[in-house]
């Protein structure tokens, strides 16, 4: 990266003096509660699947995630999720509902360019890097785990 010149550095100081800071502590508190609430709802869905359907604690994860993503898509479609996102920040971005929002918002946005070039081509514009780095890191973690088991370091 190009180094900043002296005048750029002193300007940065002036700009910093005027900048409005993110209310980090407040944002963290909001994110904690909203994120936590989303997870509580997710847990409730899981319990429902275990109680009323033939799912176990191991297998109830996938249908629960689907339901949460579906709910987030509905909220995105009716224009609520972006408002929630502005309020909650990471609280609504980190859970799987945030992933659903990233996919569906891009799909809605690019509907005007048609189904193939628009929706299909742009749906994973934001979520694509989540998938790529999720798969890549899963590969490395799995490789490390396999090696550790082979060498008898972990059981």
């Amino acid at each position: 990266m190009k180094k900043k010149t002296l005048s750029q550095q002193s300007y940065q100081q002036l700009a910093d003096a005027h900048e409005r800071k993110r209310p980090v502590l407040m944002n963290c508190i909001k994110a904690f509660f909203v994120g936590g609430l989303i997870c509580v709802i997710g847990q409730a869905v899981t319990v429902l699947f275990i109680t009323f359907f033939p799912f176990t604690e191991q297998t109830a994860g996938n249908p629960s995630v689907s339901v949460m993503v579906f709910l987030s898509m509905i909220l995105t479609g009716i224009g609520v999720y972006d408002r929630l996102g502005q309020f909650a920040g990471a609280g609504s971005a980190v859970p799987v509902t945030g992933f659903g929002n990233a996919v569906i918002s891009a799909a809605i946005e690019h509907r005007t360019e048609g189904f193939v070039l628009g929706v299909g081509g742009n749906m994973f514009k934001l979520a694509g890097s989540v998938i790529v780095f999720g798969v890549v890191s899963a590969f490395f973690i799995a490789t490390i785990k396999t090696l550790l088991i082979q060498w008898g370091i972990i059981g």
Partner: protein
Amino acid sequence: MKQESTWFFQNKPSILATGVVGGPFEKQSPLAEKFDLCMDTLWMNEASFEKANRLLIDRSIQTALNKLSLHPSDIDALLLGDLINQITPSSMAARSLNIPYLGLFSACATSMQGLSLAAALVDGGFCEKVITGASSHNAAVEKQFRYPTEYGGQKPPTAQWTVTGAGFAVVGQASDEGASIATIDKATIGRVRDPGLKDPFNMGAAMAPAAAEVIERHFLDTGMKPVDYDVIVTGDLAWIGHGIAEDLLKKKGLTFSENQFLDCGKMIYAQLDGVQAGASGPACSAMVIYGHFLSLLQMGSIKRMLAVATGALLSPLTFQQGDSIPCIAHAVALSSPVSTL
């Protein structure tokens, strides 16, 4: 190169009429009554946000022409721009108007770039009547520069809200005293300034040095002082950038009285919810200057103003590639046609 870079117009090019159109959110603006028309939805019954941007241009130009009972064929040149890739909304509006067309790009400084050039064309005798203006559409700009409209990303308090709307002016020679809304006296064309900032969510801070540079140079070239203007208004520096610009100018010995140094980006939404640091977009300065300030000049409640539109010349590509944001500002000096006697 000659010492002075400010253009002094000799033959009193004037603004004869304006057309200002806003979007649904702009209806809530404290200045809304100064706009000719506000659309009800962001889609405006068009098939895409980009087409809605074109519609804003159409409506705004038509409003201005109607006020003078002119036909597009009476106009000699069309100077306009917007923020969308390759300024297609502007070009598509020009397609149906059939007026000789020059597309402009100075991002949010396009309004005053257009007004300077229009005044020069009229002053130099090359054109009798010129239409100039700028437009932007919030959702189309978000889509291109930021995230999808419905994406739940959190915007920092330094972010600015892109205005949906268009502001246009018909520039020509006033046939008689009453025909003119404002006289265009001088124009100072900006130089690109890049303070090295890279955050596209803090563009006011990036643009402030460009605004300060062009304002300082305008006073240097013209020998005028801040007291010679009733109002000095910047385009879309908003709450953060405007404070920085005021500090930069104070360091150069240029100080302003209260309510003399204003900013369209602070005024258009005042403190409406959700706009964070204020407004931005080519329509911001175009709507507030052509809608609000020109009516003040026409009535004579302000005599002289310096309109400084500010633009951040970034693209989605350059900020992803880690480039800092180059910025520009153009200043136009306007005066009231009402006799000062």
